[in-house]
């Protein structure tokens, strides 16, 4: 199998790290070579963040470059637009429909692009949009948005549903297992 390249993008604090760890743990469980590249430090303070997950027979580089991602999951609309150039031609783009205003927009120095979903639709991408925040809030709170989105992603990867659930349960803290399982399944059923 050739290497699968998945990017998880969003805004610092949205829980992209946990999502990448769950996926990474699942891929290793299934016997793949895996590399996950994370962001720590400065950009976690509300900046644009990206983590890369790659798995296959042998993975060398931990990073994904422009035009290399098979799938991008975005936790926020503007971030979906920002990272679009990293998607392969015809690749899958899963985006949460949440909008978080960046500081240049808040202070009026820039404008939040209009109609991002329509813009993306016009490109040659396989777009899936979902209101994961709403689903998450109906289950527990915004903190499980990441696992809802992972549930959406799960439908498009080769792993079994039960293996996913096991990976979620073994990665999240014990206290939040039940809520995260529900969040995952809700995403999966989207």
């Amino acid at each position: 199998m050739s290497t699968k390249s998945i990017m998880i993008v969003g805004v610092g604090g949205q829980g992209t790290l946990l999502a990448s760890r769950i996926l990474g743990n699942l891929a290793i469980e299934k016997g793949y070579d895996v590399k996950v590249s994370e962001v720590h430090g400065m950009s976690q303070r509300g900046g644009s963040v990206v983590t890369y997950v790659k798995y296959g027979e042998k993975v060398h580089s931990p990073v994904i470059c422009q035009g290399e991602a098979d799938i991008i999951i975005s936790f926020e609309e503007l971030e979906a637009l920002r990272w679009l150039p990293y998607l392969k031609k015809g690749g899958k783009l899963i985006t949460n429909v949440q909008q978080i205003m960046p500081m240049p927009v808040i202070i009026g120095a820039a404008e939040y692009p209009r109609d991002i979903l329509e813009t993306l639709q016009k490109e040659e991408v396989d777009l899936v949009s979902v209101n994961a925040l709403e689903i998450a809030e109906s289950i527990l709170n915004s903190k499980v948005t990441n696992v809802v989105l992972l549930g959406v992603l799960a439908k498009y990867l080769e792993f079994d549903k039960q293996d996913w659930v096991d990976a979620v349960l073994s990665t999240v803290p014990e206290k939040f297992r039940e809520a995260n399982e529900k969040a995952f399944l809700a995403g999966y059923e989207q």
Binding site: D33, V34, V36, E38, G47, S61, A109, P113
Partner: protein
């Protein structure tokens, strides 16, 4: 033996544990921080946060001389702070093994500069290893102790952001318990006065020769001969980028970066048609190879700065640009910002309102330099705020009247204390503001000597900042709540107007700390809001204009209530 995904830093920590390391002392700094956080989880390891990197390295040196395997970690700029002990511990050598972890940040993901620690290895004549994935992080950490003890040398373990923060698979082994080595007083070895140091200087040269021999023969530098049209000499993350883009090429992968092998490089160069040296940051290996009289392509082909990638390496060697798949819509930037609820925001609102010259420092509060707060004039290095403000007051009395220094609690302990003592001693008149949020925030929440807790979470003594300032000669010391913007404004105006050194401590815990919760329900009352947009001036990510009117985003809002204190029309309620 279990196999797990680990970031490079966790793998280093695992290596330290397995190598029988007893003492770890570090100062946090991205991307090195997690090594020490992970190793602290092992009961067998005594791990601590030191006040700064120099202290950390000296603790590790003491532990090594007394016979234990010891370690310290820091980011690249931390090694500047610890350079003094580094250059001399190279002379004394060790007893128990001593390894120094240093993490460079090509591309400056989270740093104020981009510097190449390999130059330190060369300058201080200290062996350096560099792993290329998490497996090697663990292996090299262990190997470093063997080298340290075999050659009587400290060993630098160099990581870069991409290695430190990428997860790959690591196999766990058991810890080997290494007994304390016997300590013997040895003045000729451990007391570096000129007479002794002159003798030790010779030992270093001899040690280097032996290490070169090791670099040639031990297998840590590996030749992979495939297609010989292209040969690439590389190490660390760039090795992975090249392997992905040119799997057929031949490689000399270096695991030891100082000293570099000579014969191995010559042999590899003779086997390939076109020789490249692929390295981020400085032409460190390249200069070495060129000094050997070998023709090689390096910085004529690859960037002199920044982080590389599979594509940048492929494009540089092939000379062809990849096709773009999608247009770049130039979306607005999303820079990092102070979190909603951040206690620094109140103080920066006041600094901004008073249009002060702010001699800044490094921490979450550096984000106050960005619009709309825009309240910082300089940021150089940790601790510089206090000393530079003193410099301003000595040089420019007019500027001095509207200048303050701002510094966080961890940064104050790191290197602000010396500046404070120096200011009072030299009859300074500057005003210093310590932003005490009870934690080392920027690097992801580490305890420090002001917080009353150790790295392992045990209660301990806490530095009393007020008493410290008093002890070094300050008599004007005020404590304020940074959310009480009226009080902050009044106190700052008072303190900058007096011809005496003064200290203001703005005290409120970081909103991300456990137990910090605001039980309000902050809302904008539509009927009272006059749309004056004052609340937009604090730059809170949770307040934005919706249809031209300020609105609170309840998903992001922490209900801290700072915006209520800004509103002139009582339109914001708790």
């Amino acid at each position: 033996m279990s196999k797990r995904l680990m970031i490079g830093n966790e793998a280093v920590a695992r290596g330290l544990y397995e190598a029988g390391v007893k003492v770890v002392s570090s100062y946090p700094g991205t991307p090195s921080t997690e090594i020490t956080e992970f190793v602290a989880r092992y009961n067998e390891v005594d791990a601590e946060w030191a006040a700064n990197e120099k202290v950390a390295m000296e603790v590790a040196i003491g532990a090594a001389i007394s016979g234990a395997r010891s370690f310290c970690a820091m980011k690249h700029v931390g090694l500047n702070v610890a350079a003094d002990p580094l250059f001399t511990v190279s002379y004394t050598g060790v007893n128990g093994g001593l390894v120094i972890g240093v993490a460079d940040d090509p591309g400056m993901h989270s740093s104020q500069n981009e510097q190449d620690s390999r130059n330190y290895a060369n300058a201080a004549k200290v062996t350096m290893l560099e792993p290329a994935d998490s497996t090697e992080c663990k292996e090299y950490a262990k190997l470093a102790y063997e080298i340290s003890e075999q050659f009587d040398t400290p060993v630098l373990l160099r990581l870069t952001t991409r290695i430190a923060h990428s997860q790959s698979i690591v196999e766990e082994c058991d810890r080997v318990d290494v007994p304390l080595k016997e300590y013997q007083k040895d003045v000729m070895k451990y007391v570096m006065m000129p007479g002794m140091a002159k003798k030790r200087r010779l030992v270093i040269e001899d040690r280097k020769d032996k290490l070169v021999e090791y670099a040639e023969t031990s297998g840590i530098n590996k030749m992979e001969i495939n297609d010989t049209k292209i040969g690439i000499i590389t190490a660390g993350a760039p090795y992975q980028y090249a392997k992905e883009s040119f799997p057929e090429a031949s490689y000399l992968k270096l695991g030891m970066l100082w000293p570099l092998p000579v014969d191995l490089i010559k042999e590899f160069a003779s086997k390939v048609e076109k020789l490249y040296v692929l390295e981020e940051l400085d032409p460190y290996i390249e200069n070495h190879i060129k000094a050997m009289g070998i023709e090689v392509h390096g910085k004529d082909t690859f960037s002199k700065f920044g982080e590389f990638s599979n594509v940048s390496v492929r494009e540089a060697i092939s000379g062809k640009k990849d096709e773009v798949t999608y247009p770049d819509y130039n979306p607005p930037m999303r820079p990092p910002v102070m979190c909603p609820g951040c206690p620094h925001r109140g103080m920066f609102y006041v600094l901004s309102k008073l249009k002060l010259v702010v001699s800044g420092d490094i921490g979450c509060y550096t984000l106050g330099a960005a619009a709309p707060l825009s309240a910082m004039d300089t940021t150089i290095c940790m601790g510089a705020s206090i000393s530079a403000a003193h410099g301003i007051s000595k040089a420019n009395p007019e500027l001095s009247k509207k200048t303050v220094a701002v510094i966080g609690d961890s940064t104050f302990i790191h290197s602000g204390m010396t500046g404070l003592a120096s200011t009072a001693y030299n009859k300074g008149t500057s005003t210093v503001i310590i932003l005490d949020n009870s934690i080392t925030g920027m690097t992801g929440h580490q305890q420090n000597p002001t917080t009353g807790k150790t790295l392992k979470g045990e209660p301990t003594v806490a530095v009393n900042l007020e008493k410290f300032a008093e002890a070094v000669g300050y008599s004007r010391i005020k404590v304020v709540d940074p959310f009480n913007v009226e009080e902050c404004e009044r106190v700052i105006k008072e303190e900058i107007s007096v011809e005496e050194p003064s200290l203001i401590i703005a005290r409120r815990p970081c909103v991300l700390l456990k137990g910090v919760k605001y039980d309000f329900d902050v809302n904008i009352q539509k009927d009272k809001c006059r749309n004056c947009k004052m609340c937009m001036k604090i730059g809170c990510p949770a307040i934005s204009l919706v249809n031209g009117v300020p609105q609170i985003n309840k998903t992001l809002c922490t209900n801290c209530g700072l915006c209520k204190n800004i509103c002139k029309f009582d339109a914001i309620t708790l």
